[in-house]
Subunit: 558 residues, 2 copies
Amino acid sequence: MSNDALRRQVASLVVVRASGHASDRQRRYPRWELTNADLKRLLNSGVGGVILLGGTAVELQQRCRQLRHWAQGPLLLCADVEEGVGQRFEGGSWLVPPMALARLHQSDPERAEAMAERYGACTGRQAKQCGMNWVLAPIVDVNNNPANPVINVRAWGDDPTTVTRLTLAFQRGLNQAGVLGCAKHFPGHGDTAVDSHLQLPVLPHSRERLEQLELKPFRACIAAGIDSVMTAHLQIPSLDPDRPATLSKAVLTGLLRDEMGFDGLVVTDALVMEAIREHHSAGDAALLAFEAGADLVLMPEDADAAITAICAGIESGRIARERLNASLQRRQQALARVEDCAAQPIGPAMPEHQAGSELSLDVEQTEDRALAQTLVELTCESQGPSVAHRPPHTALNLIRIDGVLSCPQLPASAPALLLPEQAGFRPLIHHPMAVSIWKEDVWSKGDRSAPLALDRLGEGPVLLQLFLRGNPFRAGRDQQEPWAEAIDQLQACQRLAGLVVYGSPYAWESLRSLLEPTIPAAYSPGQMPEAQHTVMHRLFLADSAHPSTQGPGEGFTD
Amino acid sequence: MSNDALRRQVASLVVVRASGHASDRQRRYPRWELTNADLKRLLNSGVGGVILLGGTAVELQQRCRQLRHWAQGPLLLCADVEEGVGQRFEGGSWLVPPMALARLHQSDPERAEAMAERYGACTGRQAKQCGMNWVLAPIVDVNNNPANPVINVRAWGDDPTTVTRLTLAFQRGLNQAGVLGCAKHFPGHGDTAVDSHLQLPVLPHSRERLEQLELKPFRACIAAGIDSVMTAHLQIPSLDPDRPATLSKAVLTGLLRDEMGFDGLVVTDALVMEAIREHHSAGDAALLAFEAGADLVLMPEDADAAITAICAGIESGRIARERLNASLQRRQQALARVEDCAAQPIGPAMPEHQAGSELSLDVEQTEDRALAQTLVELTCESQGPSVAHRPPHTALNLIRIDGVLSCPQLPASAPALLLPEQAGFRPLIHHPMAVSIWKEDVWSKGDRSAPLALDRLGEGPVLLQLFLRGNPFRAGRDQQEPWAEAIDQLQACQRLAGLVVYGSPYAWESLRSLLEPTIPAAYSPGQMPEAQHTVMHRLFLADSAHPSTQGPGEGFTD
């Protein structure tokens, strides 16, 4: 075989990252997202997959057509749409995070599983309508560590049984839609307090413990025919003392292929993540992952270097050609299961005049909308009376959020802003680029008592709204913020008008326990505007004559 | 003629507002933007025009197809893309505001006029490629009032000659592209300190003064064959003691049609603006405007009420049928000049495999990109030495911006954030929803001396970056902020590391005059990331051995 033919074969096993936007200038992460010129060159030279992020659903339809056009053969087009297409692409359905269904599963397992199946069907159908054929979900990690900075509410539960039941249901939904799924992150990323985007976590667990917990949902997904498995950038000495799972033959070939019998696609997690990148060059990382047993390498820091390194490994005989052929065959089999995506035009047809047609551009159907709203209502919780209305601007709506720039949770028309405003609460947003709301002593002396610099906040009662969900890339900074002490401080001076948590059930459970019974409070696992709308209506319109705790499943429609 | 036929005719003269996004949920201004259900119903019942805002250029192509499909006949599709399509639709070219070219016109009139023509050609071609056929530009108001809260840098100058020459050039560019243009806001909105979005401004000028100043550019545009003129919501007692221009027969018919001889389309400014809305119901405003001489009514608060009111006026004989017929004919004539837009598919064709094609989705061509960059470089100004680099996080990058939510000027990757960060400056954003940077005494006692609450800002030198351009809807709040005093305060304690103004030349001129000669400073009329990039490179990489003032036309490429 010629060198060029080998390069094309190897290139087909590389998945590169692109923005879902049409133009280079629109890229939100230019460091990681290829330019159109590079994308076109790489696809033309045989690169076989693209992971997409950003843009609108309508724009993505056109973008996927463009990428297919640039490629020479069928493409794997994927995205991390773990919480619905709307999580990454505006206009798609943005669903509450999976952990919300795990909470519902405790009280109503049948309903939770039915919802998880619809969750998968909605995500898969919209992904396909946008032009993709591979959904990088479900996460099957068991999030038994509440301090987990990278999985957290993305997980389908904190015990293996719940995770297994819900992810199998999700997978059934995906299958109905005709897109590929992906169980991640093998062998299990749920029990770490370290973010692998920033450094390599080490898991001290024995093989026995892994069998009891982490591996269970993977075994079930494999038995149910999951199309692909994504590797974790985790060091697990009991499985391999030398290499992280992504680069470990013992883990990928020994455990996943040979022992667990998985014969689908094995894809690495993004090789640009610091857990890998700080220890290995782009070429080395790709070569080691492929040698260990991965079929596809995702987001190598340098796609050309990755292809060159794997080719060199094959040409030198270090890796057998049969290994390459097996990976190529697995990729083709996966594509064959969803080949209609490539064969026919994607998305709604766009003739100028189509008799009787709605010519809908909306990928979100009425049933999707109903699903998204039902999930919000079923998983919203509240307690205490309603929040009292005040004269305009006499009270404070203090919102805590990870970042305020390019923030889809908080458009100018966000219910978390507008509804309190109508009730007299002026907005104040706490974010990392604002003047701090904290006293200097919190950070300089570690004095966390009465931490709020109240002189900076002005007068009046304070409604506290915390958007907190354990997002990656934050190195645990969220957990250092003294919100418990701030709640004590506001209660001590009778200035706490209410508490809302959007996102983390762990934060909600620990903070609600501090509240006096007269303090209105509410929680939604979702952070999107629809979740805010439901929470705000509960908080401001609850019947104050009947203060009560409304748990999951007791939601009402406004 | 049947009542229904009359309603359809009248409806064709109404222009309603829609988001450029595909789905209702994506609307940024749900109060003003119709739902898809309402849009479809109104277009189906004959509404003849849509003004669009928001979304991406690629999404807008599909959106325009959809609107044409819903309509029964040809549509006027327009947008306020005064500063390039990218000002309103992501992915289009976002150009420096027109006032920048007026400054260039002082030193190099030929170059400025050539640039204005390319500005019009770029805007027109991209608007057409997105599916529109009518650009609501140029603004021909003479901005001779620096405190103007609504026109300001949107104007093509502050004297009638400059405005005339540049807007004629812009109009030539639009004509080349084959879209309709619009001279606004008749009879001239440049000399007011009141924002007509919020209340009705009164202009005390005599007819003679109007002839000398405000009317000159309109006369020139009409002589050059401008397609449409937009009315101003201004009370001008010397022309009509009773009615604002938009609703005045003396102004629209007496002055514009009869005296000035304009026979193109007269369109109102948006009737939902408070200058009209607080005095007139939706039906009354539309009826009065049409009776006064407007052909098209833009954004009535209630399109059905507007249609009903005008129909009633015609049926009762208050308005002659000939008046209606003349407006219908003018609309048809305008559409005929751009009819190819409606007759053939809009935007790039999208076949799955088009041999040899780039399948580009990008509406911004290489020449547009070069124009945008040249305009930034030609209009950027700087003075003083370069900013010294500091150890990480030891200096402060204090950014002032109108609002931080959904803010296209300030994505997370904005050069105004990233480049100072690399030089040791940590970002701090001053916006209306953050903890204030000002001492309480500024507002409570009117004490503007040393107004910054330095204890809230932390230690270190301060780079001040002010995004200030006199945006509407702000009721003059910008001008109350004590930036001059803040600069004095920082200079007095030797903490001013540099000053940048993005937007208003008036703010730049007045603040730069306060600076000690050792303080680095720079200005761009543009606020977009490309302008920030150029300014930041000038500020941080200027040759400190040769401190110099670089005015318009002396720019360099980095």
